[in-house]
């Protein structure tokens, strides 16, 4: 039977309405189905251009049908089709590559600047952690074993001679399996920073504890090396990757704090909305933190083992620190600046 015949044969006005528009609906359904299967390439340019137009057609069909038709099946079909098309028309439009470009070209640093207050708090907490670690061990050496996990305490124990400690810092060029070392370092550190972020959910308190604990280990170790007059060498050894890694941990902790703080003090917004806004900003920071962890692991495995003198290590570490500071705080694309102004908390 011909289409026109079917329309004429339909007894109801609302069914004639439906039959007249059915073609557009089915076309949209076909396009949506193919896009959902990820077969974008099989779509013609015409179809891609038609998507928003067809979506609006279906949306308007739906609102007319709601007022004129009592055909429940057709209404349900239109609702489901409009919803599927809506997800595509207003879905994540960016490809992964475009997102990365936007992320590296200002989105990340804008998010970092937006949580400046949390970064300062986290920094203060980390410095306090180092001081606590130092003071604890200085008052009672037994604290060293309580603080420093076994994997670091191989030769680096209180009472170790200067030579032993010196050897842990220098003379590792010949060591094998450094890329494996780097990969496992990265995996481990990234997981720790994700944890620091995720714990922010409990109003940020566990994040603070995690930061204090991790930096207290550092404080204890600085104390140990200080006892043998190796403070500068130890800091150099640490600086190569530490400026990047500690910065990343700082940002992860700050991101966690940011969420915790916005939930504890949402201001005039509902808690859920405040948490969601903070969460998206913090997630951007966190994506960058994982990236920094990759850089840190590479630095830790290669330059630190290959560059065997303290000034060289300081040069690398200092350069990395400068690089991150300039990238986050000095380079401000115009677009990113307005985004910061809009999304800045506190």
């Amino acid at each position: 039977m011909s289409e026109v015949g079917a329309i004429e044969r339909a007894a109801l006005r609302s069914d004639r309405f439906r039959l007249a528009r059915e073609g557009d609906w089915r076309r949209l359904e076909a396009i949506v189905s193919r896009m959902e299967k990820g077969r974008l390439r099989s779509l013609s340019d015409e179809d891609v251009q038609a998507l928003p137009v067809l979506y609006r057609t279906v949306a308007s069909s739906l609102s007319i049908a709601r007022e004129t038709s009592l055909d429940a099946a057709t209404l349900a079909y239109l609702e489901s089709l409009a919803q599927r098309a809506w997800f595509l028309v207003y879905g994540p439009r960016l490809t992964l590559l475009a997102w990365l470009r936007q992320f590296l070209g200002g989105g990340w640093s804008a998010a970092v600047r937006a949580i400046w207050l949390d970064v300062l708090i986290a920094l203060a907490v980390m410095l306090a952690g180092v001081a606590v670690g130092w003071l604890l061990v200085a008052s009672d050496v037994e604290w060293y074993h309580a603080l420093v996990p076994g994997q670091f305490a191989d030769a680096r124990v209180p009472g170790a001679s200067r030579e032993v400690l010196h050897d842990t810092l220098f003379g590792n060029e010949g060591k094998n399996a450094m890329s494996t070392f780097a990969a496992s370092l990265f995996s481990n550190n990234a997981q720790v920073s994700i944890l620091a972020f995720a714990l922010g959910f409990a109003f940020g308190l566990p994040t603070l504890m995690l930061l204090v604990h991790n930096t207290a280990v550092m404080g204890a170790m600085i104390w140990l090396y200080h006892g043998q007059g190796l403070t500068i060498d130890f800091l150099g050894w640490l600086a190569v990757h530490g400026t990047t890694e500690l910065f990343a941990i700082l940002l992860a902790g700050a991101a966690g704090l940011h969420i915790g703080r916005s939930m504890a003090f949402p201001g005039t917004r509902p808690v859920a909305q405040a948490a969601a806004e903070a969460g998206r900003r913090a997630a951007t920071v966190m994506a960058g933190v994982v990236l920094m962890m990759v850089v840190a692991a590479v630095l830790e495995a290669f330059p630190r083992q290959l560059v065997d003198n303290t000034p060289g290590r300081f040069a690398i570490g200092g350069f990395m620190l400068m690089f991150w500071l300039v990238y986050f705080y000095a380079l401000r694309p115009r677009r990113a600046r307005s985004a910061t102004a809009k999304g800045a908390p506190a």
Partner: protein, 319 residues
């Protein structure tokens, strides 16, 4: 006359309006109904995804181990220690990277795709969406999945280590309680958000796919009989059509679409009793229920839709 109600099984549809229904308003100003995914469905999807991740990890590990074994054998026979060591190291790096990616990037990769759903979610027919009705952004997907670490993987690691060591002190109990807070988070808010959804501003909704059903007034027995108008025997008057409203109409539509003879028969009898059909005409023989119901449906709908255009709506037989 007391209402001869429709069979109870058919009325259940009215009760289906649950607390999971939400309305999302698009930028075009059209309200689209959404149904939140049930907790059970989401748990099922998660279990499926974990199985998939486990399988991926297993296959990758087995593949890399077999390659490593081959390399070692080759190195032993050829005596090329240095190159083989480098190759093994590369494999180890590959393995660590793969495990990290499976654990962290699996959900990200799939939820950023056009369907906004992992394979487990696709199978169970759900997807993620932005809670405010806006665009689902990459940041949301990242945020909701980073939180998965404390909701899911940390407790798993914790459980594994607890069952290893066997000593659950006070700290263990505190940790268990802490994890329970996250596991039970979806039970303590009306949108069934888990902690990650809460932070990200996303939620999980059902992703229904419906087919376009046949036109009721142009297909079926009535038009197959070739009649544009209902046969004279099935013309109903004002009194007979005014007893039912939209709810009954849509129940009738469902019965007609499902085409189950026993429910057709039941509905036929219920309607006949209610409207007193046939009044003084001879009883139409059995097997004709479908034609009767289609004619009644079409005329009732025409009447109700005409009322709608005039701004008069009748929700159900009580209205």
């Amino acid at each position: 006359m007391n209402a001869a109600s429709l069979p109870t099984g058919l009325v259940a549809g009215r009760m289906r309006r649950s607390d999971r229904e939400r309305v999302m308003v698009t930028p075009e100003g059209i309200a689209l109904p959404l149904t939140l995914a049930s907790r059970g469905t989401r748990f099922g999807a998660l279990v499926l995804d974990l199985i998939f991740i486990g399988l991926l990890m297993l296959v990758t590990t087995v593949a890399l181990v077999s390659v490593a074994g081959g390399t070692a054998v080759f190195a032993a026979s050829e005596g090329e220690g240095g190159n083989a060591a480098r190759a093994l190291e590369f494999l180890a790096v590959l393995w660590i990277a793969a495990m990290f990616l499976f654990r962290n990037a699996y959900f990200l990769f799939f939820e950023l795709g056009p369907r906004g759903a992992t394979p487990g979610k696709r199978i169970t027919g759900i997807r993620i969406a932005a809670r405010d009705g806006g665009r689902l952004s990459a940041e949301m997907v990242i945020a909701r999945n980073l939180l998965r670490d404390i909701e899911l993987f940390l407790p798993l690691v914790f459980l594994a280590s607890a069952s290893d060591g066997g000593d659950m002190g006070a700290a263990g109990l505190v940790a268990a309680a802490w994890f329970l807070i996250f596991a039970l988070f979806p039970f303590f808010n009306k949108d069934r958000l888990r902690a990650g959804d809460f932070i990200a501003g996303s939620w999980v909704v059902e992703a229904p796919k419906r087919k376009l059903e046949a036109v009721m007034s142009a297909a079926g027995a009535a038009s197959a009989a070739g009649a544009q108008q209902a046969p004279p025997a099935y013309r109903f008057g004002e009194a007979e059509l005014s007893v039912y409203g939209e709810f009954e109409l849509q129940t009738l539509e469902r019965v007609l679409r499902e085409k189950r003879p026993d429910s057709l028969r039941q509905v036929y009898e219920a309607i006949c009793k209610k409207i007193g059909w046939p009044p003084d005409k001879p009883i139409v023989g059995g097997g004709d229920e479908r034609l009767f119901l289609e004619c009644y449906y079409t005329q009732l709908r025409a009447r109700l839709e005409a009322g709608m255009r005039m701004g008069k709506r009748k929700a159900d037989k009580f209205g």
